[in-house]
């Protein structure tokens, strides 16, 4: 899922300067699951903003990365569009007054919403990465950078592109220190060496021959931005 962190209130107010009546819209996807952009966080943020401006509508939308087909919205005004995409919303009647929308979705959701509305849409969060919550600790960890050329089949299901600080392709570097990445010594964090983990996993699986094979340089042609793919037939 997508991991996010709230922007500082000062930065949000800076972006919203000029608007006095705003709508705050959470997202029903990843950020709701991780409680960074769901109903409770929308209410919390609206309260803080309330000291500086009027939050006339607040609520949570469906996943902002996929709200609806554009044709379903054709001919509708912004207020009607927001009503259509909202999952739960307070201040329906005041939507016409809204001058700006603040979204707690990830960068994908914010951009999608911004593309659907005439009103300016601002992000309340910084989007961090695709990952998961580590069960055994207090960390969310990044697991996939979306490199476009997945190597998990050769690395015991552990991604070196994401989890090796140098994105190396052919085994641990000489900086590995008690099973930790050398960057751990600079930052004081305990960052496991991805390649030591890969080595251990492959050894356990009896597949060390995967480690013995020279892996080709990654193609950055597959991960150059901006990327797009053609929608496959039958896809939703």
């Amino acid at each position: 899922m997508i991991h996010t962190r709230h922007k500082p209130l000062e930065e949000i107010l800076q972006m919203l300067s000029g608007a006095t009546k705003v709508a705050v819209l959470g997202c029903g996807g990843c950020v709701a699951f991780y409680r960074t952009g769901g109903a409770a966080q929308v209410r919390e943020l609206a309260e803080k903003l309330g000291e500086h401006l009027q939050v006339v509508s607040l609520g949570v939308s469906n996943r902002q990365c996929y709200l609806c087909r554009e044709e379903e919205l054709s001919g509708l005004r912004d207020a009607e569009r927001i009503r259509k995409i909202a999952r739960e919303l307070e201040g329906f009647d005041r939507l016409e007054e809204v001058e700006a929308v603040l979204s707690l979705a990830c960068g994908v959701g914010v951009q999608n919403l911004a593309g659907l509305l005439e009103l300016p849409v601002y992000p309340a969060q910084n989007t961090l990465f695709m990952g998961r919550r580590r069960v055994e600790g207090d960390f969310d960890i990044e697991l996939c950078v979306g490199c476009g050329d997945c190597v998990l089949g050769y690395t015991g299901g552990i991604c070196p592109v994401t989890r090796c600080s140098k994105s190396l392709m052919n085994g641990p570097c000489g900086g590995v220190f008690n099973g930790l990445c050398e960057v751990s010594r600079a930052t004081g964090e305990e960052i496991p060496c991805a390649w030591v983990e890969i080595y251990r996993r492959l050894k356990k699986l009896g597949r060390l021959e995967e480690l013995r094979r020279i892996r080709e340089p990654r193609s950055h042609a597959a991960s150059g931005i901006p990327r797009r793919v053609k929608v496959q037939e039958g896809a939703g």
Binding site: S165, V196, I214
Partner: protein, 294 residues
């Protein structure tokens, strides 16, 4: 197999081969390079030039190598993957070869987070195995885009090894890949423990490539403690720590300890050593003399 350098010629002979290391200055003063060259020239067959270790900015490898050549010491050009993508790496080593550089050592490189340029973008487009193979490809007369080179660069390809890291099997597998990719010599991270020399011998006995254990004199107890905290996989025996602690003349003790390791490396059958003088360039000759290897 052709021999392009004095260093490789020495490795192919039965002579015990000693390489040294030059630390480029952080400013534009060539005299600092010349001074180190003059200290080493009579004692080592060639010397490495580091590539901005831990990402701290110093004089570039190529310029330092050229100054060395002008003053009669053969360079071993260290290329790392930290700051350069495959375009810049190929371009640099082709240029180095055109300037007469005949030894290139392929390394991954430290993460920039380790030093004073911690916000710099880490490149790592290639890794040490892929850089090794890239050097082999260039030498065979082709670049990575598949174009033929009428005049292929002529250099020998070396690689690094961290002999103390765990799991050692992963490190040895990586070394095997480097050899498959074309590595012709190996220089290791510094070793202070004869047990590590012994283990290195055992772990690499199946490999047909000259391995030069890295030896760096320990100038003080503080340096020893720093190395223990900062160099991965390093071990320094208690006895060595005690000798530094009780030493009345640290310079003499440092030379003695280093000389004993050089001698031990020869006894374990290594074809030479790589001495990293870390500021003790003036005493490299003394270390070799006391070791009795010549």
């Amino acid at each position: 197999m052709k021999v392009y350098s004095r260093f490789m010629e020495s490795l192919r002979s039965s002579r015990f081969t000693v390489s040294g290391e030059i630390d480029p200055p952080k400013d534009a003063n060539p005299a600092e390079v010349v001074e180190q060259v003059e200290a080493l020239r009579e004692h080592v067959v060639a010397a490495n030039v580091t590539d901005n270790p831990i990402g701290d900015v110093i004089m570039c490898t190529l310029a330092t190598c050229v100054i060395m050549q002008q003053h009669g010491l053969e360079p071993i050009y260290q290329a790392t993957c930290r700051d350069r993508n495959r375009i810049a790496l190929q371009s640099d080593v082709i240029g180095a070869a055109a300037l007469g550089i005949r030894n290139v050592l392929a390394l991954t490189g430290d993460h920039p987070r380790m030093g004073k340029s911690r916000d710099a973008k880490p490149v790592f487009d290639l890794d040490s195995v892929l850089l090794t193979r890239t050097l082999s490809t260039l030498r065979s007369g082709r670049n990575l885009s598949g174009e033929e080179l009428a005049h292929a660069p002529e250099f020998h390809i070396g690689v690094g090894l961290s002999p103390g890291v765990e799991p050692i099997e992963a490190e040895i597998i990586k070394l095997e890949k480097k050899i498959e990719a074309g590595a012709e010599f190996v220089q290791t991270q510094c070793i202070y423990d004869e047990k590590v020399l012994e283990r290195l011998r055992e772990e690499t006995s199946h490999l047909d490539v000259p391995i030069l254990p890295g030896i760096a004199p320990l100038r003080s107890l503080g340096m020893a403690k720093f190395m223990l905290a900062n160099v991965p996989g390093i071990s320094i025996p208690d006895e060595v720590m005690r000798r530094l602690e009780s030493s009345r003349d640290l310079k003499e003790t440092a030379i003695d300890i280093a000389a004993e390791l050089v001698s031990a490396a020869k006894d374990y059958g290594f074809p030479g050593v790589h001495i990293m003088p870390v500021g003790m360039h003036m005493h490299v000759g003394e270390i070799i003399e006391r070791s009795g290897v010549r």
